[in-house]
């Protein structure tokens, strides 16, 4: 039996900060155009980095942090290791909104991607409200109901997306497919800043629910008798996560795997307490997505591979490797 070090929190969080800083340095210095970031503060290279590369790297950090942390929180809340931020139906709603925007040529209305953003956000919010309405009507704020409703909404939206793709022209269809792979091309500082008001509340709130999620690992009755209001916790986590995830999907498409895999890698490495798991997911998720996006930018340079493809390609095998070598992620056997 392995005994956890009392210094584990310090070690994990320090490791997360170092990992994130390393990813930032790598993301800012590696790219299709060979430039050294320390060449000078006001030369062309620095300006290039500041305007083209930096917003994208910071966006990747925000997206990674949001997705990984949301995944960790939802897995804890629903006590199900297979849940990811995309299981709750919001991302499919956002995708549907985006695909409608692309189909009717609305993506260019407010500039490059910004016309698509409000449509996708609205789609995500709509599916969240639908989920809330269903749960409220059945008076069951339980994991199973929420999970099944979310998955059903996802399937419905996917069917709608396929239908719209079928009616689209080749050019529109290509744009949709590319968008659905999850991509961060053509990112500006404005777009990165636009995301902040949507994801910051979630990043702050989820850092505060660690205790409640810990109590929930002992079962619903123990959590309730320890003062956790389960319906309130569920509604608030869903609300913050939905808003944040809808915005990330609206901006960059659904980026697969980050929200599922980062929390699990941490769990396999012995991070059990949600008090530590949530902030650690935030740090490692941010670093992981910067790293994946850097690979996406350079692997087929000058072509850019959608980052969602890379996260799955790196994440999948690495996850399987850990699974086989470090034991089980079945965190919910009794």
């Amino acid at each position: 039996m392995m005994q956890r070090s009392p210094r584990q929190p310090i070690l994990v969080l320090t490791g997360g900060v170092i990992f994130l800083l390393a990813a930032l340095a790598l993301g800012l210095s590696v790219g299709t155009t060979k430039i050294v970031p320390l060449g000078g503060l006001f030369d062309d290279a620095s300006r290039w980095i500041f305007h083209i590369r930096a917003p994208r790297v910071f966006l990747a950090a925000l997206l990674g942090a949001t997705l990984a942390m949301s995944g960790a929180a939802l897995q804890g809340l629903l006590r199900n290791p297979l849940v990811s931020p995309y299981t709750i139906g919001v991302s499919s709603g956002s995708s549907l909104g985006a695909v409608i925007a692309l189909r009717f040529g609305m993506e260019g209305i407010f500039g490059s991607l910004l016309g698509l953003f409000p449509m996708a956000l609205a789609g995500g919010m709509f599916s969240m409200l639908l989920l809330f309405a269903l749960s409220r009507r059945s008076r069951q704020w339980t994991g199973t109901t929420l999970l099944l409703s979310g998955i059903t909404i996802s399937f419905f939206c996917s069917a709608m997306i396929m239908f719209i793709q079928y009616t689209a022209t080749y050019q529109e269809s290509f744009k949709m497919v590319r968008w659905l792979m999850g991509t961060m091309d053509f990112i500006t500082w404005e777009q990165t800043a636009l995301l902040l008001p949507f994801v910051l509340p979630a990043l702050i709130y989820l850092n505060m629910v660690g205790d409640h999620l810990n109590l929930l690992t002992l079962g619903e009755d123990t959590a309730r008798s320890s003062g956790v209001s389960l319906s309130r916790l569920t509604i608030l986590i869903y609300l913050f996560v939905s808003i944040a995830v809808a915005a990330t999907v609206a901006l960059a498409g659904p980026i697969a795997f980050v929200g599922l895999i980062v929390p699990h890698i941490l769990r396999i490495s012995g991070v059990i307490s949600h008090r530590l798991l949530l902030p650690a997911s935030m740090l490692f998720g941010a670093g992981f997505l910067i790293f994946a996006d850097t690979v996406a930018r350079v692997i087929l340079a000058p072509q850019q591979v959608p980052v969602g493809v890379i996260t799955s390609l790196i994440g999948g095998p690495f996850f399987l490797f850990l699974l086989v070598h470090r034991g089980t992620t079945d965190t919910h056997s009794s």
Partner: protein, 266 residues
């Protein structure tokens, strides 16, 4: 100090069309060990959940420490009583120390300072509980590697850490071997005497009810059949409640014992 722990009037609860509790009226004094007994499906767990504030949706009224249950928030309730559920699935990965330590969460403010590692004073509290329950040797074992009985003891230790003044325990000795059960009842009596605890327990262990408890609430098909001194209640109503013949005896050195013999189905 409030003398009555709980007072309930015309308490009823149904799940859909199925009545679980039918019009119960009674009270539980403070500072006593009180058992809730009855055949399976008589409504014991439902009653315990209602009384400990975990089950809403009942009709009638419950007063906890002379205040209507509706006025007790989940947070405030958590600092006044602890509750051990009958059967809970615990996620894997926690050590026993982690599980016990979670008993402190409801009674500590969740400031960032003691967020990740427990303060020295808290550690002493945890160690005291582990020593009291004889579980110190398990503290660094992984919870999910324990046997059923050992798991129950760890979960009991968590409840004890949360609050030992008022405890609600749902079949604490399920999965215990006879030795474990006996030591548990003795420990519970010891805690009760030392801290003047109010302890409400759902159990099928009739012998323990006779020897360790001051009062029993006997349930029969969702109704309160009898309440009062365990020996009297079980002698007068036990046969009907459980559908068996009962013989209760007393031995100066062994205490009360109970013999059962099967009846033919009525």
């Amino acid at each position: 100090m409030v003398k009555t722990l709980l007072h309930f009037t015309n308490l009823s609860l149904a799940a859909g069309d199925v009545p679980l509790l039918r019009d119960l009226t009674g009270s539980i004094p403070r500072g006593k060990m009180v058992a809730i007994a009855g055949a399976s499906g008589a409504g014991k767990t439902t009653l315990l959940r209602c009384l400990s504030g975990l089950n809403g949706g009942f009709t009638g009224s419950i007063n906890f420490l002379d205040q209507p249950m509706e006025q007790w928030s989940a947070r405030r309730m958590a600092s006044h009583r602890s509750y051990l559920p009958q059967n809970e699935q615990v996620s894997a990965g926690w050590s026993c120390l982690d599980v016990v330590q979670l008993g402190l969460v409801p009674i500590r403010d969740s400031s960032l300072r003691n967020a990740l590692t427990p303060a020295a004073g808290d550690l002493a509290l945890i160690e005291e509980v582990l020593a009291l329950t004889g579980l110190s040797v398990f503290s660094h074992r992984l919870f999910h590697t324990l046997s059923g009985g050992e798991k129950r003891r760890i979960l009991f230790a968590r409840a004890l850490l949360q609050n030992r003044d008022i405890m609600f325990l749902d079949e604490p000795t399920a999965f215990f071997d006879p030795g474990q059960a006996l030591r548990f009842w003795n420990l519970l009596s010891e805690i009760h005497t030392k801290s003047q605890s109010s302890i409400v327990v759902v159990t099928h262990d009739l012998q323990a009810i006779l020897n360790s408890f001051q009062e029993v609430l006997l349930l029969h098909r969702g109704s309160l059949m009898a309440t009062g001194d365990p020996k009297k209640v079980l002698t007068e109503h036990g046969e009907k409640a459980f559908g068996v013949s009962l013989s209760i005896g007393e031995d100066p050195s062994w205490g009360c014992f109970i013999k059962t013999r099967g009846n033919r189905h009525p």
